[in-house]
């Protein structure tokens, strides 16, 4: 499902200087006997920070400041343009939680959630099949991963033509002798299914690559041993592959759920949220940029962030990340 790029947390910078002094092969020396060097200089502790300056500056400027601003806006009545804004306390949150219609759009996410089940199953299937020795294996890997490399906006336009009246889908169906006169994006059910289908097409490749990587990291001897013991392919999957990729699988599920809750690009480009395809993020964007309710929209964004954090937390509690030990 939708997968947003997050900046990785910065590596703990202080493990650097501590271990540096006790590197293996570096004989411990008596401090007094050694001449004073740069290693003892107090500024030395600053060195890792100097290295981190640029990435941290970027991280703060482009991630934390905007988020900080957003949280601040969510407590104001700002319209997005005016130089004046006044602090309104929790009014935006109060409005948000007293208007159930604002949360009704989460029903649309169910389509994407269902689609992500299909997506993970398909990715798992292809990853398993292609992890065995097959002819044209790399070609198929490329074909499966390719959609993920295409820009989401371009995908939106491609599929707009695909679903058009008399477009690609209709022509292909008529070649097969099915003369459908269905407007694919015409009613909420079929439109949401179509959009979720596009989403599956786009993100299967990503899941596939993650699964394939995990499967290939399982040591080859295990397969050999299994084969010698006469295990079938199905048994190999059940007892080797499935437990081996469990952490990646649980990561994929988290990404799928948070992605389903925050779908944006594809429906926004293809239908603009018309015909019952509006998602929570599209609704937020419309509140902010059409109705000039930047404050309320920021509150929506904060709430979505909290919902996703909560869902992730619950999921981690239900399915804890166990250490996998195959050997």
């Amino acid at each position: 499902m939708t997968h947003s790029t997050r900046t990785a947390p910065p590596p703990d910078p202080l493990t650097g200087p501590h271990t540096a002094g006790r590197r293996p092969g570096h004989r411990p020396v008596d401090r007094r006997s050694r001449p004073r060097s740069w290693r003892d200089h107090p500024l030395r502790r600053v060195t890792p920070w100097l290295f981190l300056l640029v990435p941290l500056a970027l991280l703060v400027t482009f991630t934390y400041v905007p988020v900080g601003n957003m949280i601040y806006y969510s407590f104001t009545d700002w319209d997005g343009v005016s130089p004046d804004r006044s602090f309104v306390g929790g009014d935006n949150y109060e409005e948000l939680f007293t208007r159930p219609d604002l949360f009704r759009v989460f029903a649309v996410s169910l389509y994407y959630l269902a689609a992500s089940v299909v997506q993970i199953a398909a990715a798992l299937y292809f990853a398993t099949v292609l992890s065995f020795d097959l002819r044209l294996r790399n070609l198929f890997k490329g074909i499966l991963f390719f959609p993920y490399l295409i820009n989401g906006v371009a995908i939106g336009f491609v599929f707009l033509y695909f679903f058009q009246d008399g477009g690609t889908l209709d022509s292909v169906l008529s070649l097969l002798g099915i003369d459908s006169d269905h407007a694919w994006l015409g009613d909420p059910r079929s439109a949401n299914t179509a959009l979720a289908g596009v989403s599956v097409w786009r993100f299967t490749g990503l899941n596939f690559v993650l699964f394939l990587g995990a499967i290939q990291s399982i040591p080859g001897e295990l397969y050999e041993a299994a084969q010698i013991d006469g295990a079938t392919r199905r048994q190999q999957f059940r007892h080797l592959i499935a437990p081996g990729i469990r952490p990646v699988l649980s990561l994929s599920v988290i990404l799928a759920i948070s992605g389903s809750l925050s779908v944006f690009e594809i429906p926004f480009i293809m239908t603009g949220g018309a015909t019952g395809t509006q998602t929570f993020v599209i609704q937020t964007v419309k509140l902010a940029f059409q109705f000039n309710k930047t404050g309320l929209a920021s509150a929506c964004a904060v709430v979505l962030l909290l919902i996703i954090l909560a869902v992730t937390w619950i999921q981690r509690r239900l399915v804890p990340d166990e250490k996998v030990d195959l050997v």
Partner: protein, 440 residues
């Protein structure tokens, strides 16, 4: 401890920058009027003009205007910046000081904020004698913008096609229009086109027609005081009912969800589309498309909204974007000189087939038929637009957004549940509620 330092550092930096960021968006302090220069040689400087017409910037038309302007004002240099997503981008840029010297006022800016962003151009009392549409930018007796052009609202149709179907007279009522659409569809296969996917053709041409039905210049202002804008017989009721009926009677395109505006021009020219509700600005574009399709420019016709008020047609006349001078501009006189020259001498509005902002200028050739048929042009008052927009935004209906008419079409074609009456009742209720809370 290290983690704590990192965390504190990040938090402090974030807080500082957030506060600094919030301080942005300076308010112009200058109250100086951007008056037209007395002498062409007295103004100098380089001015930047923001425009939504990227097509004219790219094909060099704007450069030609700048060159002609340069002959009169040799010491002023004009630069253009064409912006595709004009509304979205300029709105955000207006949080800084740098939004060009001359710009088109984005619709999102609240009228009451004009004095904070733009230099006044003169007192409304004197401006309105020379220019049309000044009430749209009038704040406390001063005018902040001059329209780049105005458009009449009506229906663009393929005249040759309608003639082939045997219709030569303009319909005088919505029922007649529906009957005509049906005749045209039965005889030629061409349908009405909603442009549902692109959305904006459902917005301005329809909402701008408020006033065409009642022939009332105050029709839009009245929205600020009514509790039921969609009540039987009101402008919005008639306009939206017509759209509903067109779609409901299957007289529109088969699949609205995948329409394409650029393509619709060719389809109209080729006679696959019979008509679209649009502003008169669209006529020249349709004529171009007709010429490219080999049909000849005169195959495109423009009729008023199909309603008559005591035997005459009415058509609202509205301004397009308003040109304004940035309050932070260092070359206000030069900027004003450009606006005046562009409005009076460039020939831009004639080239666009649009109505000039100058009261003294004649109507364009595209509206010849309106003049010949005595269509009353209603120059709609925009005096209370600020209040109307405030209610509109509070209600989240969006008279100037596509969503509510897209839903109307969805209901009409059965894609979403509901009835026309129920939908209008809901809209009325939301409007009335918002009017209470918007409280201005």
């Amino acid at each position: 401890m290290g983690r704590k330092i990192l965390g504190t550092a990040l938090l402090t930096a974030t807080a500082l920058l957030a506060v600094a960021g919030c301080g942005g968006g300076g308010t112009g302090s200058s109250d100086e009027t951007a008056a037209p220069p007395l002498n062409a040689n007295s103004v100098s400087g380089t001015i930047k003009v923001l425009t939504n017409r990227t097509d004219l910037v790219q094909d060099g038309t704007m450069k030609k205007y700048a060159a002609a302007f340069g002959k009169e004002y040799p010491r002023v240099k004009v630069e253009f910046e064409g912006i595709t997503d004009y509304e979205g981008e300029v709105k955000i840029r207006m949080n800084t000081d740098k939004y060009g010297d001359v710009l088109l006022i984005p619709a999102a800016v609240a009228k009451g904020d004009y004095p904070k962003f733009f230099a006044p151009l003169g007192s409304t009392g004197t401006m309105e004698q020379k220019y049309r549409f000044t009430d749209k930018t009038d704040v406390d007796g001063r005018t902040y913008g001059i329209a780049n052009f105005g458009t009449a609202n009506g229906v663009v149709y393929n005249k040759a096609l309608w003639k082939r179907a045997g219709i030569t007279e303009w319909p005088t009522s919505p029922q007649e229009f529906l009957a005509d659409l049906k005749t045209v569809k039965d005889r030629t296969g061409a349908t009405y086109y909603t442009n549902f996917k692109d959305g904006w053709p459902l917005v301005s041409p329809f909402t701008n027609s408020i006033g065409s039905v009642s022939c009332d210049a105050k029709a839009s202002d009245n929205l600020a005081v009514t509790d039921k804008p969609w009540d039987t017989g009101t402008d919005l009721n008639v306009i939206d009912t017509l759209l509903y009926d067109i779609v409901h009677d299957r007289l529109a395109e088969k699949d609205p969800s995948t329409t394409n505006w650029e393509n619709s021009k060719t389809l109209l020219a080729k006679g696959r589309i019979s008509s679209m509700v649009l502003g008169s600005w669209a006529i020249t574009q349709m004529q171009d498309a007709a010429q490219k399709a080999g049909a000849g420019a005169d195959s495109i016709g423009f009729m008023p909204f199909p309603v008559q008020k005591s035997g005459t047609y009415c058509s609202t006349l509205l301004s397009d974007y308003q040109q304004a001078v940035n309050i932070h501009s260092a070359h206000k006189a030069a900027a004003r000189a450009w606006i005046d020259w562009f409005t009076e001498k460039s020939g831009f509005s004639e080239a666009q087939g649009a109505v000039s902002a100058l009261r003294s200028a004649p109507l364009p050739a595209t509206l010849e038929e309106f003049v010949d048929n005595d269509v009353t042009l209603v120059e709609r008052s925009e005096a209370d637009t600020a209040e109307v927009n405030a209610i509109d935004n509070a209600s989240e209906i969006g008279l100037n957004k596509q969503d509510y008419r897209q839903k109307l079409i969805d209901i009409a074609r059965g894609a979403q549940s509901g009835t026309l009456e129920g939908y209008f009742a809901d809209l009325n209720k939301r409007w009335a509620d918002a009017k209470q809370t918007a409280g201005s």
